[in-house]
Each structure stands twice: as structure tokens, then as C-alpha cells.
């Protein structure tokens, strides 16, 4: 029966080899932990406290999902497999070493078939690792995607881990070569390599000596890697699981936290490192520099100075200097970087280690707003919102002007009970180019016999983007006004036209009697399912659908709009970037109110080109009033008027009714 030989071929000249191994490993681990502690203590020495210790089982589950199984990382095939091959192999090697220790000291079980499975598994993962490392080498030195960081630290790490695995493999194969054991074929990689050693004709003595050499290099490389881990790019092996463990569980991605306050209830407007929480600093330290966020970022791709990856690295850069570069806004992180963000959520969605970029961006914007450092256009919009409750600077009495002349007159939900309170939103209410679409929405509601009403001048801008601009006080004021108006209305559910209003009403407003908030696409989808909405015409357009960020990524509504489009008879052709990978139109986070600044290509233009390239798609369907505005402009600027028309989903419904 095969037996495991411990420390095969290691001379006992200076005593038990085991003792040395344990001493070296123990010391290296101690040094690593000490250095890591020094680094980590910066987080809470500089950062503010923040409670993230609740819901431990849920947090542990996240660690399993994102740090061990690495589902996020696997969203992208090549780098996902590459990383999993490397990381999972190391998990297996650790486990193997741990099991060997158990076997040696506590409970002998590694013999017979168990030993064969053990050896086979370790050997297979050696091969898997080598494939992963090969992929990494190809990617880093041949393919060279722009999003990666080309720093020698990454090369060093790759060399170190490869040396560890190769010397491990050499040790094993040299032992197999010297032993000529009968079970060596169960270690296929070791067995193959052993044949090579044997073919050199080296004596058993020589092989044993080479084995000793490989073993020592293996041991020392492991020790060196451990010792340098906290200052190397492998730091993420510790920080990433921590960041995942401490990720936010108290609120959905669609809810921002209010401005933090000090113990004396003074608001904290974050401009320096010490205004951020330890978790926000940990975010920066957990960043693996994979660049996925940057790749997905509409602001970066438009050529603005914002890269969410660089944002994290700038943050890290400032605090590893132990607070000697404490000022963030305007210094470590320039203002235009902060203003470029559309809060589309793509970065947060892509980040394999659950970095929360948007929370930090909004925190820093809050400081800029409180200091009045906003551009002229944004200032006008904010002042209009403060004074008139809409960004258009029009009287609140004009809010429902679009409905003028409609028969029957739309109910005033503040005066009579309705089943559905329709929160129309600013763009749908005031933008002259959208009047027709808003009317069609109302007509569709009327035709399906919906009992609905609007709040007329009682409605204010919902504040979603006001909050994301960083004007928290104004957001609170608008929310209070809307809450007051809504509390006077009698309704069963809220429907919104605008995904932005939808998001804030659903996720950020205090639950108002618990009535559900529905986007109109969700409602129509329900009505189709229940048979209340039936189409008389069958449209046969070939269309593509653009997922609005605040409907899709933020609230997971992907299927309802698609089902409606299909119910009208249209055929949907998906753009390459669809569903949670959809590209932002560039209007969110208050960008629609700001000066555009220098850009290379507007996200909306890139999106229209993407749709046109599909070939044969005649209609570009959206489900957000801002999208209609953004994309109709983009169709003109890219000169695609002949090829594609932008339509709101409701226009299809209206046509097919």
C-alpha cells in the first residue's frame, strides 16, 4: 500500500528538517502579519469608524462567492479563467500542505487510495496553475490590454509564484525519478518530468542532491513571498477577501448613504483622507488594478479624466504616505475627475473585489457642492430645482401643461383617490420634445382602463440625480416636498416614467405606507401577463433595446421591457453591451446639467454606433425620457438619421394598441 514519506531525501545533518521548516514558516508568517498589520492599521488610524460587523454569515457567504469561487472575476472569460487557474491552484496547494501537516502530527490518513487522490489532485492543479500562468504571461507581455497596470511589481509576483510551483514540481519529480515508485503515474506532471530526469542518466545520489536543491529554493521562495506579500501586488490576496467581507449590506446599490455626521451632529463633507471611512480606504487597498471598472466606464471611454481604477489608486497613493498627502479634492483627485462620473454603476458592477467607487465619488462631490465649486450650468440647474422644483426653471404651475386638452382630464391624485399615482418626472413633464411621448403614455394608461392620477404642481423633481451631484440638502428638501404631497394622496402604487425617479422613490425615499413603486414597463408587463393589455396590431420592426442604468443595473429590471417589445411583435436584436453590461448614455449623476467639458466621443454616440453596426436594426428603443433626448441628439451628431430612429418603448406600445 502506498505510504507517504515525510521529508524524503532531506538530510538530518542539522537535526529534524521539520523543525527548520516550521521555524522558517512561522517567522515568515509572523513578519507578513506584522507588516500587513502596519499597513492595515492605516485604514482605521486615518479613516473614520463605520460599522460593518453585522450579518456575519451573509458576509462569509460573500467571501465564498466572490473571493473563493470568484464569480465576479469569472464574468470575463479569459482573465477570469486565468485568475481562477492561478488562485484555485494555490488554494489547493495550501489545503494540501495543511492536510499533510494534519497527517504528520494529528491524524494519519494519507495512505492507500486517499494518498493517490491527494497526489493526483495536487499534480493536476500544478498543471492548471501552469496554464493560468501561461495565460497571464501571454496577456501581460503579448496582448497588453490598456486597462492593466504595467508595473514591475506584477512581473515580480508572477515570477515568484511560478518559481514556487515549478520548484515544487521539480522536488516532486526528482523524488519520483530517484524512487521509481510504482504509483508515480498518478502524478502525471511529476511523472513526465521524472522521465526527463531519468533520461539524463543521473545517479540516484545526484537526483537526491538536485531534489534537495529544489526543495530549499522552494522553501525559501515561499518564505520570501510571504515576507514581501504586504508590499507586493499580492497584497490583494489579503485585502480583497476583507473588502468583500466588509462590503455594504445595509442598503441596495440604488441607495446612497446620507451625509455622515460627527458625534456632535456636524455634517462631514469629505475633502481629505480622514473624512473617509476606513472601509473607503480599504477599498483603495483592495483594488487589484485589474482595470475592469475603467474598461466599462463611460466617462473614461469618452476621454474624460476619470478612470475609476485610477481614482482608487490615487486614493491609495495618498494614504500609504501615511496621511502626508491628505487633501483629496482638487489635489490627489482633481475636480473634473469627480464631475465626470455619470454614476452609471458599471464600475461597481464589474469590480471583482466589490469596491464601492460611487459612494466615494459622491462623498467628495458633496464637499465641492458645499464649497460652491460647481460649474455655471449645474449651478443654474440646482438653483432652479431649489426654487421651482424642476431643473428647467419653469413655474411649477406649468408641470402638467403637457396634459392640456387631454380628454378625459387626468385626475389630480392630490384631490381624489386613484389606484396608481403616476410620478411623471421633470423631463417627461417639461421637455417640449417629450410632450408627445408623455401624452402617449397617458393615453395608453387610459386605454387600458388604468385608474391613475398625477400630482400636478404638487410633484417636484424626485432628486435622484440631485443627490448624486452631491447636493444632499436639496435632495432632502425635494424629497420632503414630494413626501408631503404624496402623503396627501390616496393611492395603491406609484408608477414612474423615469428610471431615475423610480430608483430614488423605490430605494431612497422613506417607505411611504409601503406602496410598491413600479416603472411603467413593469406595470405594462404585468398588464400584458394578466390579459388587461392586448395589442391589436403586430409590429414587425427589427429593434434593439437600451437598458437604462437606473432600471437595469441599479434595479435589475431587464426582462419586463423586453417582454413588452416582443409582445408588440417586434424582433429584438441585442447590442454587444446589453443588460448589466449596457453602456450609459452619459446623462446620469447630474451630468445632463453640467458643462460637457473636453471629450473625445460622447457615450451616447458610441452607443448609437454600436446599434447601427448591428445592421438592419431600424429602431433604437429606450425606456427613459433622458435617453430619448440624449440619443436623438446622438443620432444627429453621428449622422445616422437615415439608419435608425430613437423611440421610447411607449411609442411601440401606443402604435401596437
Amino acid at each position: 500500500m502506498p505510504e507517504r514519506t515525510n521529508y524524503w531525501g532531506i538530510p538530518h545533518t542539522w537535526g529534524e528538517p521539520e523543525t527548520f521548516v516550521y521555524i522558517i514558516m512561522f517567522l515568515s508568517a509572523a513578519i507578513m502579519l506584522f507588516r500587513f498589520y502596519k499597513r492595515a492599521s492605516l485604514w482605521w488610524q486615518i479613516g473614520r469608524p463605520e460599522a460593518r460587523w453585522d450579518k456575519i454569515p451573509q458576509r462569509l457567504w460573500l467571501v465564498v462567492k466572490y473571493a473563493i469561487v470568484q464569480t465576479r472575476s469569472l464574468r470575463q472569460r479569459y482573465p477570469g479563467i486565468m485568475h481562477a487557474a492561478i488562485a484555485w491552484s494555490f488554494f489547493v496547494f495550501f489545503l494540501g500542505t495543511a492536510l499533510a501537516t494534519v497527517h504528520d502530527h494529528f491524524f494519519e490518513f494519507l495512505h492507500g487510495n486517499i494518498l493517490i487522490v491527494y497526489k493526483f489532485t495536487l499534480d493536476i492543479f500544478t498543471i492548471i496553475f501552469l496554464i493560468g500562468a501561461g495565460m497571464a504571461i501571454y496577456r501581460r507581455y503579448q496582448e497588453k490590454p490598456e486597462k492593466l497596470t504595467y508595473d514591475e511589481g506584477f512581473t515580480r509576483t508572477l515570477v515568484l509564484i511560478t518559481v514556487i510551483v515549478l520548484t515544487g514540481l521539480f522536488t516532486e519529480s526528482l523524488r519520483l525519478a530517484a524512487e521509481r515508485s510504482g504509483i508515480s503515474a498518478w502524478s502525471p506532471a511529476g511523472h513526465l518530468l521524472a522521465q526527463l530526469w531519468i533520461s539524463t542518466g543521473a545517479t540516484e545520489k545526484a537526483l537526491t542532491n538536485w531534489h534537495l536543491g529544489a526543495w530549499i529554493i522552494h522553501l525559501l521562495t515561499v518564505a520570501f513571498t510571504l515576507i514581501t506579500l504586504p508590499v507586493s501586488t499580492l497584497l490583494h490576496a489579503l485585502t480583497a477577501p476583507l473588502n468583500i467581507f466588509f462590503s455594504k449590506l445595509d442598503r441596495p446599490i440604488g441607495a446612497l448613504a446620507p451625509t455622515a455626521t460627527t458625534e456632535d451632529d456636524e455634517p462631514i463633507f469629505a475633502s481629505k483622507l480622514s473624512d473617509l471611512t476606513w472601509k473607503q480606504l480599504l477599498d483603495a487597498d483592495a483594488c487589484t488594478e485589474c482595470g475592469r471598472c475603467q474598461d466599462a466606464c463611460p466617462a473614461f471611454n469618452a476621454g474624460t479624466p476619470l478612470s475609476p481604477k485610477q481614482l482608487m489608486l490615487s486614493l491609495r497613493e495618498s494614504f500609504v504616505h501615511n496621511g502626508t498627502k491628505p487633501v483629496l479634492t482638487g489635489e490627489a483627485i482633481p475636480e473634473d475627475v469627480l464631475w465626470a462620473c455619470t454614476t452609471c454603476g458599471a464600475c461597481v458592477q464589474e469590480c471583482p473585489v466589490l469596491v464601492e467607487h460611487i459612494d466615494t465619488i459622491v462623498d467628495l462631490r458633496r464637499y465641492l457642492v458645499i464649497e460652491g465649486m460647481v460649474d455655471a450650468e449645474l449651478q443654474t440647474a440646482l438653483m432652479n430645482l431649489g426654487r421651482y422644483g424642476n431643473s428647467f426653471g419653469k413655474s411649477e404651475r406649468m408641470r402638467a401643461r403637457w396634459s392640456k386638452g387631454m380628454e378625459p382630464k387626468i385626475k389630480n391624485a392630490n384631490k381624489e383617490a386613484v389606484e396608481y399615482l403616476w410620478f411623471v418626472g421633470d423631463y417627461a413633464s417639461y421637455s417640449p420634445t417629450l410632450t408627445e411621448i408623455t401624452k402617449q403614455t397617458a393615453e395608453v394608461f387610459q386605454k387600458v382602463g388604468l385608474d391613475f392620477g398625477i400630482m400636478y404642481k404638487g410633484e417636484n423633481h424626485a432628486g435622484n440625480d440631485v443627490r448624486r451631484v452631491g447636493e444632499e440638502g436639496l435632495f432632502e428638501m425635494l424629497a420632503e416636498k414630494n413626501m408631503k404631497a404624496m402623503s396627501k394622496a390616496d393611492y395603491q402604487a406609484i408608477i414612474t416614467t423615469d428610471p431615475h425617479s423610480y430608483n430614488t422613490l423605490k430605494n431612497e425615499y422613506p417607505a411611504n405606507g409601503g406602496q410598491p413603486v413600479l416603472h411603467y414597463t413593469e406595470l405594462l408587463d404585468q398588464l400584458i401577463a394578466s390579459g388587461a393589455l392586448r395589442f391589436s396590431k403586430k409590429l414587425d420592426y427589427k429593434v434593439t433595446y437600451h437598458d437604462p442604468c437606473y432600471l437595469g443595473r441599479y434595479n435589475g429590471v431587464y426582462d419586463a421591457p423586453r417582454r413588452i417589445i416582443e409582445a408588440t411583435g417586434c424582433e429584438i436584436v441585442e447590442m454587444p453591451r446589453n443588460r448589466d453590461c449596457a453602456l450609459c448614455c452619459g446623462a446620469g449623476g447630474g451630468r445632463i446639467w453640467m458643462e460637457e467639458g473636453e471629450i473625445e466621443e460622447r457615450p451616447s454616440e458610441s452607443r448609437i454606433r454600436e446599434a447601427v453596426e448591428l445592421g438592419g436594426v431600424t429602431d433604437f428603443i429606450v425606456a427613459c425620457p433622458k435617453d430619448v433626448t440624449m440619443y436623438r441628439d446622438a443620432v444627429k451628431t453621428v449622422g445616422a438619421e437615415e439608419k435608425i430612429i430613437v423611440k421610447d418603448l411607449i411609442e411601440l406600445v401606443y402604435e401596437a394598441l
Binding site: T259, P267, G372, G393, S395, E472, G473, M477
Partner: protein, 256 residues
């Protein structure tokens, strides 16, 4: 360190349609919505810029009107030190600039100002702007169309705008009244939370104006919306033709 007083009034907000009152002599104030006079807003900004640069104190004085408290708290959030609201039963009805300027002058005097800043004009100035009137009542020099102010050795160095894109640098001895066309910087944004904070902590001094004396102002006989006269004639052609045609018309009506 200069003592600065900014005089501010609320004027009709043009987002709402204006209506004429029943007697046809003024705006229907029941329907009127008011907003800070944009030029006065620049005057406040300029006052605060001076304070930030040279120190001193800024007092903002405004007559009672709907929303005037919010407006005053906003100026405090920007950095004004003192807010004064003038009250009198007639303010709600609307008063002419002569009466308002007298009330402003009476109150401003108390602060022994080195500099009085106000908007160079307003959309409801029927009897001339407020600035020169205040200057007259206080016996101070007045300069209008100002777009920048620096205090140096007890004098104000100002930049004054002229039509045709000309600007002049001028010196005026203090105390003086300046009619502000534009502040050195456009009025800054104040976050709502700052204004709300001021509402909790700052206080507005309320001053009862004894008498409103409109003497010297004008009487409005009739106020009306522009009437469609249908008399416009579009002159077409190139520059020379248009000029020739114009001369012809001028001669016809006896202007040349």
C-alpha cells in the same frame, strides 16, 4: 476694514406670466411671485468678495416681501454678517424707488457704511434706480455700472463698464454708493443645507420703517401688456439697400 451695506430688493419673477391689476396702473400683486433682483444678487456677491479679501462686515438690507427671509438667509450662508428686514404695511403693495431709497438710506446710515452696494438696475424700476437716490439722500458720491471693486487706502478702486465694450478704472473716495452691474465673480452657489443651517442659527433684525415717502417719484396712469400694433415693416436687401431705405424713411418722417 470696510463696513459694507448691500441693498437688496425682490422683483417680479418672470417665470410666471405677469398680470395687470384691476385699476390698470400696476402689476396684480396677488399673482406676483418675486425673486431677488439679479443685479442686487451681484451686489451681495461683490460685497462678500470684498469682505473675503479685505475683511470688514457685510450687512444686507431688504424690504419685506414674500420669500425675503429665505433670500436673506442665503446671503448669510454666503458670508453676510447681518441681515435686516425693513417692514411696513405698504411694502406688500409695492412702493416706488424714491420711498424705498429713503427707507434704505435711513437704515443704512445707522451702520456708518464705507461702501453701499446695490444693483445698478431692476426690472421694476419705474422711477429710476435705487442707487443714485440713496446716494442723494445720504450725500454720498455714486458710480453705476460697476463690475469690480477694490478698497485701497480709504478709497475704492472700481471698474466701470461703458457701452461698446469699454471699461474704465476709477477711484472714488469713501463713503460711496456703487451700482453693481456684475460682481467680480458670478454669484456663488450656496448649498441648501448651508441655508437651512443659517435658518436655525442666524437671526434677521427686523426694522419697522416709520414712514414711506414716495415724493419725487412718478404716477403711473396706465400699465398694459405690449399691444400687437401690426405696424412692423421688414426691410429687406443687402446692407447698402437697407441703409438707403432707412435714410429715406427718416426723411419721410422728418427725422433727417
Amino acid at each position: 476694514m470696510p463696513n459694507i451695506v448691500a441693498l437688496v430688493k425682490m422683483v417680479p419673477d418672470l417665470v410666471e406670466e405677469l398680470e395687470i391689476n384691476d385699476s390698470g396702473t400696476g402689476l396684480d400683486r396677488d399673482w406676483l411671485r418675486v425673486i431677488i433682483n439679479e443685479f442686487d444678487n451681484h451686489a451681495v456677491e461683490q460685497a462678500i468678495i470684498i469682505k473675503e479679501r479685505d475683511g470688514g462686515e457685510v450687512t444686507v438690507i431688504a424690504p419685506e416681501a414674500e420669500g425675503v427671509e429665505d433670500m436673506l438667509f442665503t446671503t448669510a450662508a454666503k458670508g453676510a454678517d447681518r441681515m435686516v428686514k425693513l417692514s411696513h404695511d405698504d411694502f406688500e403693495e409695492g412702493v416706488n424707488n424714491h420711498a424705498l431709497a429713503r427707507a434704505f438710506a435711513e437704515k443704512a446710515k445707522e451702520y456708518q457704511p464705507d461702501l453701499i452696494l446695490t444693483g445698478v438696475q431692476a426690472n421694476d424700476d419705474l422711477d429710476g434706480p435705487v442707487g443714485p437716490l440713496v446716494a442723494e439722500y445720504l450725500g454720498m458720491p455714486y458710480l453705476g455700472y460697476i463690475c469690480g471693486v477694490k478698497i485701497e487706502d480709504g478709497k475704492a478702486l472700481v471698474c466701470k463698464e461703458y457701452p461698446g465694450g469699454l471699461t474704465a478704472q476709477m477711484e472714488v473716495s469713501l463713503p460711496a454708493v456703487l451700482g453693481i452691474q456684475a460682481g467680480e465673480e458670478p454669484p456663488r452657489y450656496v448649498a441648501i443645507s448651508k441655508v437651512r443651517q443659517m435658518m436655525k442659527t442666524a437671526e434677521i433684525d427686523e426694522h419697522e420703517t416709520d414712514e414711506l415717502d414716495p415724493d419725487g417719484g412718478i404716477a403711473v396712469n396706465r400699465m398694459y401688456l405690449p399691444e400687437d400694433a401690426g405696424r412692423a415693416e421688414m426691410i429687406e436687401g443687402d446692407e447698402d439697400e437697407i441703409a438707403a431705405k432707412l435714410i429715406e424713411i427718416f426723411k419721410e418722417v422728418g427725422a433727417l
